[in-house]
Symmetry: C2
Subunit: 339 residues, 2 copies
DNA sequence: GTGAAAGCGCTAACAA
DNA sequence: TTGTTAGCGCTTTCAC
């Protein structure tokens, strides 16, 4: 922190009191137009910039919020962050950002640092089931984004993941695929678990029995994991004719395995991903997937947080409707989409 | 900001002075083991958390840095941010993040807010040529990342973009492509300009005259722009047999145009992108591109900033070497790569 | 319309 | 080893 002009400097230069300067800067009413102008001119001349730390300390409010996301280079989360920043900027809030990397301990560390630094509120995409039990006791305004723990006590902006997965798998079945495998993430991941439920729900609805052998998990879903898991399944049973993957990355891996095994998508193998990330429309054939409006979710989350900060003490909940984006990776018989 | 335990609360609970409590918390030497333990126990009991604002105000240092990037949902920048956060977290710094959206005015606004909030230093990827003339006068430690203005007065972590583009185009020529077009961004974008130079340098080296009609610009390079610009070029001259695009997104657009016009990549049309973003290996055929180690660049930038903050008053410069990643989009005759 | 004084939570110099 | 005092930069009573 470098030394800079403060109110006292302005006061001394003008031979008036600090109080008066403060009043002028904050455009209070009880001050003469004359002095006001003089102060402002001098402030400008000396390149005065208020010290937000001092102001915050004095006024007990700090217009900074903290955002905790699993990872910023994950496309979906980066759009959530963008949404948050859109609104935060408008509302004159600054945003601090921390990555939890799905690590509860690191998450808690960041949380504590944020608290120490007096953030006014927290926006968090929890890394695990116990995340929020770390947050709640701090008694700080917060809103959960995208990874809702099942409860009725927190404000949360989420996505209808159950239905998203359901739509994906239902679509595959309707297209004529019979043996649909599911590629998912960690057992502890709420999102993964919810999407798995949606998968099972769709199977059940169509009278298909879910088979544990058709479900594969990995720690941190990547293209490579998708490749390995799908290859294993394709070689093992030889009956899998479609994949539902809980993330587009995994689907990209399926494409790779399919090519290696000379299986044509979508005729031999149907694929539906999740998130509509950038790769989904770059794959050939283009990937059918589930849209996730990260930016809008981030914006909504900030709006709720702001409501809570200004004292609106109710619970805010919003679930974004699931939306299937049909492209060519699931067109068993006919290509249905080409844009 | 909610009310929380402060030193005074602990002091009163223990009937000792605030100073003593402070000493205990900060584990100074001149304090009895006994009181130290008592204080720590009470602090824990009352769930004490130091007020970083007050500490910073008092000590005139605030362990927060500000990061200004054009856009966080751009893959490359999100990895830069990740690199910065890796190191910042290790060094116990918090990071504030702002998006300039390539808008000088917005950039300046964020800058001022950061300054007001007493960030110790700034990491910035400048949005335009005049960005730094806004930063320099503030006399705050800063490091430029990835978008170096041509000067010798700032610390900067950059990438050898001239050579990156050169390698890309040189490679295309060596593969046997004759008429190589360049798809780029805005005229004001330094990065775009530098890569264009590399393109021209490679042409020149091979005795090919650069042709203004083979160079197309757009405002904010997207897949769609790539599609439109490449289609226009392919329809117009019918002689373009390869594209060098200053970003992978644009290359993805070229793929789309190629498919529409029934041109086979790489036989009819060679393509080389830039950035090695996620889509590059999802495209079919896989895209030859230029690797950009965003995370490592972010880490390096933070390290430099930290040096400057602790008073190491020299200029820090680092240029990451350009690296061509050869995949199949540029294999005019034989596929050369498949992983 | 203006200024003096107190205090936000904390630390550092100086006393005791 | 502990306490007293002053002050970081600012705002807010309360006098004048």
């Amino acid at each position: 922190m470098i030394k800079r002009t403060k109110l006292k400097d302005i006061a001394e230069a003008l031979n008036i009191s600090v109080t008066t300067v403060s009043r002028a800067i904050n455009s209070k009413s009880d001050i003469s137009e004359e002095t006001r102008k003089a102060v402002l001119a001098m402030a400008d001349k000396l390149n005065y910039r208020p010290n937000a730390l001092a102001i915050s300390l004095r006024k007990s409010l700090f217009n900074v919020i903290g955002v905790i996301l699993p990872s910023v280079d994950h496309y979906f989360f980066s759009t959530v962050l963008k949404g948050i920043m859109n609104k935060a900027h408008q509302a004159n809030y600054l945003v601090m950002i921390g990555e939890s990397m799905n690590d509860l301990e690191k998450e808690n560390e960041i949380l504590n640092q944020f608290m120490s630094h007096c953030v006014t509120g927290i926006l968090i995409s929890p890394s695990g089931r116990d995340s929020l039990s770390q947050v709640r006791p701090k008694r700080i305004p917060f809103v959960v984004v995208d990874r809702p723990l099942e409860n009725e006590v927190d404000s949360v902006v989420k996505y209808d993941d159950l239905n998203g997965a359901f739509l994906a798998v239902d679509h595959l079945i309707n297209q004529g695929y019979k043996n649909i495998a599911c590629l998912k993430g960690n057992k502890d991941c709420i999102i993964s678990a919810t999407r798995l439920k949606g998968y099972k729900k769709a199977l059940k609805l169509h009278g298909i029995e879910s088979n544990a052998n058709m479900i594969k998990s990995c720690t941190y879903p990547s293209k490579k994991d998708g490749y390995l898991m799908s290859k294993e399944l394709l070689l093992a049973t030889n009956k899998v004719d479609a994949f539902f993957t809980i993330t587009d990355n995994l689907a990209a891996g399926v494409y790779e395995a399919a090519e290696e095994l000379k299986l044509k998508i979508p005729t031999d193998l149907g694929v539906v991903g999740y998130s509509n990330s950038q790769i989904s429309s770059s794959l050939t054939p283009k990937l059918t997937t589930i849209e996730q409006p990260g930016e809008r979710m981030g914006e909504q989350a900030f709006d709720y947080l702001q409501q809570i900060i200004i004292g609106n003490n109710r619970l805010f909940k919003k679930t974004f409707d699931a939306q299937l984006i049909i492209r060519n990776s699931s067109a068993k018989n006919l290509p249905v989409y080409s844009a």
